[in-house]
Amino acid sequence: MSAAPGYHEYFEYRRYPLRVPALAGGADPVRHPVAIVGGGPIGLALALGLARHGVRSVVIEADDAVSYGSRAACISRRSLEILDALGVAGDVLVEALPWTAGTSYYRDVPVYRLQMPMDGNQRFAPMVNLEQCMCEQLFADRAERLSDLIEIRWQTKVAGVTPGAGGVELALETAQGPYRLRADWVVACDGARSAVRQAMGLRFSGSTYDGTYIIVDIHLKSDYPTERRAWFDPPTNPGSTILVHKQPRDIWRVDYQLRDDEDPEEAVKPENVLPRVRSHLRWIGERDDWTPVWISAYRANCLTLERYDHGRVLFAGDAAHLVPIFGVRGMNSGIDDTHNLAWKLAWVVQGRSPARLLESYSSERVFAARENIRHASKSTEFMAPPSGAFQLMREAALGLATTDPFFATLINPRQTSAITFADSPLNAADSEALPAGPVPGAVLAECPIGTAAGGRHLTELLGPGYTALCLTADDPRPSLAALRDLPLSVVWIAPRKTAGADRWDTTGRLFPLYGAAPSACYLVRPDGHVAGRWREPRAVQVGSAVRRALR
């Protein structure tokens, strides 16, 4: 797909050719360890994640280029940590616009100031804006540089899925005719209308909100800073809610809610959309000319599959769950899915772990989807009140918030945050009552550390296996020497610069943040979730926690 006539294009698209392998009897003669269906951000992130563990994958993508149109726009801090592990955070940060704050207005009065968590411990901004299509292009470029491990088959559609005990056969269609492809594992990352999900007869459960939002991308030069601006009942669009986000390369995202008495099919026509955008832009002081880039209609969905592991077919991203856009949990939760899945699937493919490990992928990420839906529903109910009662209560809350900050917290858009898997089967019992720090199942709290090579951050220390972060004055390596056959790296962080220690607490904040009084050992999974924590590094406990993933 590309820009409509007279519209501005996001960037110059690269078109990829169709490549069909030399076939044997109508089939790809290669049996692939992993086939990923869908070359969007989730499919590509999973391919990059598997490559990080040395596992080859083939990505099946129906289109001849990355996606077109207004989709995900905000990348969370947690996603940036994941993208850094995948080797693409640097490329993303060159393009993306970082931001920390936002303002909500009731009519023309500012009623809430959003301030996302940001302090001197952080490596990344809490949020950066980048159009999904550009994000995908950066992922595809990275995948191309890893062509010995990732092959993307563009212009190739999945027409059928035949699961078997030892693998899956995909029926593929191309302009040069159909062929079959066999894989040990198939991961469906093919989005909300997943062909794999439909071919397997699987259904979402959950609910859908009635309200419709119009989503518009425009090309406008403006030096207004990057932040989230929301207007409730603005004079330019009475009764509606408008959101404005700045994106790279002079693209602006404008979302607005339709009133119940409006017909979405009529309302999405450019002749009805553009005057409303124009009147709002003029009112907020944007005087320059602008060009439309994309217009579409959106309805909030709260849907998920009951499980994401179906034999040798796995589901991730929008193919597995649909979360309302408010709070930016769509692409971000999909990226989290891939980070959870990549190491588990890699270890199963490599014979290091039993296939049962993938059950924890499903249970953890289904739990995350339900949590994401719960939080996003609250945002949705405020941004797009589902009935007169919600509308009336919101009007009362907004009016009170103009004079009383107590009510302003109700306007908080509740942006995405990492989910804690308190009940994960991979968690060791948390029995040593550390006074502070992330509990088993949570992700790490960021903190700077000193190294011989200069300043680093804690989340940079995680390798592709488990990592034992040992915050202690004494070298922990002798205590954990018995574990050298496990996929585990031991990282020693001393309380201060110490002879023999490669890393140390350079700010004096790390040890208190992690309840290391005087010491602590955090075992961290390859996806950054804490698997267990103890007052000291002890081989019996650390080893048995790592083995939970191996047996």
Binding site: D233, P238, K378, E381, G388, A389, M393, T409, L410
Partner: protein, 77 residues
């Protein structure tokens, strides 16, 4: 004092309870809720102050015509 999270929860609960009671009975639901909260507060001075606070907002925002959106007239003009 309610925490942000508690306020969020009771706000949402009130929204759902109101939606359940149906549009025609919503004012009555709100009136009952106000009376029950008066009983809970149990302090005439604070209740009088709260009534005045709500009334002052009446003056701040012009009353809306049911079924129409304030500002429609502004746009026409």
């Amino acid at each position: 004092m309610l925490t942000d999270q508690e306020l969020d929860e009771v706000y949402t609960k009130a929204c759902y309870a109101m939606a359940e009671s149906g549009e025609a009975k919503q004012p009555l639901f709100l009136a009952r809720l106000a009376l029950l909260l008066m009983k809970e507060v149990g302090d005439a001075g604070r209740i009088r102050g709260t009534i005045e606070a709500a009334r002052s907002l009446n003056d701040a925002s012009p009353p809306r015509i049911p079924g129409r959106f304030a500002g429609d007239d502004r746009l026409k003009g």
